[in-house]
């Protein structure tokens, strides 16, 4: 056995973990869900057939067919038969409170806390570097993602994720940016829940203004503190909500 005390066997184990064959199908589904959430594809809109979809995304027809059936099963698309048939983006497909709550209840408190810790580490690193590298144009773009109090919770959720991605863009680190995108995918629709709470929205606006000001003032310490406070506030809200289920 390769169980050396310095733990080399653990990284070896990861190498031999079977690669999930569903990876590509999930990837295609993820792209389409993302296109729906960001408003690129809208309810009622016709999707390309599986041959067109396969060609556009550079996957096999089998993968495209599987992806379409997975999307159908999860209610993202509906399929109509006949002459005017095809696959359409379903109605009421946008992230809903019900779906987000279901996701929250599937997660343990430990998972939520660990995810938040990872998210905090990456976002704080982005904020610190962003404070070193920002210019005036960066700050104007960053502030444009601070949502206004009367936006709905869907717009809030999108704006918050865009705000954090913009911090990564200002940091100009491709690796940190990719990691942040992955973490946001792991968070899924969870962040929709606090966005429906006016109190959370008010506190968040103040924090985001502080983060933007710190990045503008080239103050890495304050930028890191601010972004961590934002993620803590979100996590605390989610843990409080999750506790109600017991």
């Amino acid at each position: 056995m390769l169980l050396s005390p310095n733990g080399a066997s653990r990284s070896l184990a990861a190498v031999f973990t079977p690669i999930k064959s569903r990876g590509l199908v999930d990837e295609v589904c993820g792209r389409i869900e993302q296109a729906v959430e960001t408003g690129l594809l809208t309810s009622g809109q016709r999707l390309p057939n599986e041959t067109e979809l396969a060609a556009a995304l550079g996957v096999s027809a089998v993968t495209a067919r599987e992806a379409l059936s997975q999307l159908r099963a999860s209610g993202i698309i509906r399929t109509a038969r006949g002459r005017s048939g095809g696959s359409f983006i379903a109605d009421n497909v946008l992230p809903s409170r019900e779906r987000a709550l279901a996701q929250l209840h599937e997660l343990s408190r430990l998972q939520i806390r660990d995810l938040a810790l990872h998210y905090q580490a990456i976002a704080a690193a982005c904020a610190g570097v962003a404070a070193r590298r920002s210019d005036a144009a960066d700050i104007a773009t960053l502030r444009s993602f601070i949502p206004s109090a009367d936006d709905d919770s869907l717009s809030w959720r999108l704006a918050l994720s865009e705000f954090l991605l913009e911090v990564a863009a200002i940091a100009r680190s491709a690796r940190l940016a990719r990691e942040l995108i992955r973490l946001q995918a792991d968070l899924g629709t969870l962040t929709l829940l606090p966005c429906a709470d006016a109190g959370y929205r008010g506190r968040t606006t103040v924090i985001l203004e502080d983060v933007a000001a710190a990045i503008e003032a080239h103050d890495p310490g304050a930028a890191e503190t601010g972004i961590k406070a934002h993620i803590s506030a979100t996590t605390d809200w989610l843990l409080t909500e999750q506790a109600k289920r017991y």
Partner: protein
């Protein structure tokens, strides 16, 4: 650029040389000229591609379709990204609203040696133009009718890499509206490999900078790509391509 002087060579003195001495380029000038030729080469290639694309689009009879655009653009992208030692990580064409339909854009963009089709889902969206109008690499050539270099920036749409995007407007009529843009993505990594030998010949703090005074590549260990820099006087400035400048001696802000 007008403030190019010959005080830049590592062994050059501080004294301002007379005009007669300028005739013979020093090692720094030669190194800068080499880098300029590389970047200008990308820009000229792109300008020629834009002209050819405009002419081909103008010659299309009837309605311009996505399939026709793909057929026109893909061979050139293939040539660009598969060129041994080439600079393009990805390249393509993006239609302005109006070419294929109102509010509708069309993206014919591929990246990597396997020609991965980028953002292809957007082509099924009726409001796809909204996806590009705000992006600097699309907006500026469309608004000004002139070539533009964006970055270095983290490209979330295509490569997820730290890149420079060279874009050029495409016209189907000389006085007409901008029909779209052609562009080439060049990773900062690729520029680094191409530029480091020239930078090292100029000096240990020689830095290639964009027009905002942001480092693209630096020979100095304490200046990273993306850092804002200022000149450490005496600093010679050499033009590189249309918009970049090579600074002989830079310092981080």
């Amino acid at each position: 650029m007008s403030d190019t002087t010959s005080t830049a060579g590592p062994s050059a003195g501080q004294a301002e040389p007379g005009p007669a001495e300028r005739a013979e380029p020093g090692p720094a000038e030669l190194a800068a000229a080499e880098l300029d030729a590389t970047i200008a080469g990308i820009e000229h290639h792109l300008a020629a591609w834009a002209a050819d694309t405009g002419a081909a689009l103008a010659a299309m009879s009837g309605k311009v379709t996505g399939t026709a655009v793909d057929k026109l653009i893909r061979p050139m992208v293939e040539e660009l990204v598969q060129l041994p030692g080439g600079y393009a990580a990805g390249a393509g064409f993006i239609a302005n609203a109006g070419l294929l339909g109102p509010e509708r854009s069309y993206i014919a963009w591929w990246q990597g040696p396997d020609l991965e089709h980028v953002d292809a889902l957007a082509n099924f969206s009726p409001n796809s133009i909204s996806r590009y109008v705000k992006a600097e690499w699309f907006r500026i050539p469309v608004e000004t009718g002139r070539a533009h270099v964006t970055g270095p920036y983290v490209d979330f749409l295509c490569t997820d890499e730290y890149v420079l995007t060279f874009t050029h407007p495409v016209f189907t009529r000389p006085d007409g509206p901008v029909a779209g843009i052609v562009g080439i993505d060049v990773t900062v990594q690729r520029v680094e490999r191409g530029a480091m030998p020239a930078l090292r010949r100029i000096g240990g703090r020689a830095t290639l900078a964009n027009p905002d005074g942001r480092a693209v590549v630096s020979a100095a260990p304490d200046i990273d790509a993306g850092d804002l820099i200022s000149p450490a006087e005496p600093c010679a400035h050499y033009p590189v391509g249309r918009t970049f400048t090579l600074w002989s001696d830079a310092t981080g802000l």
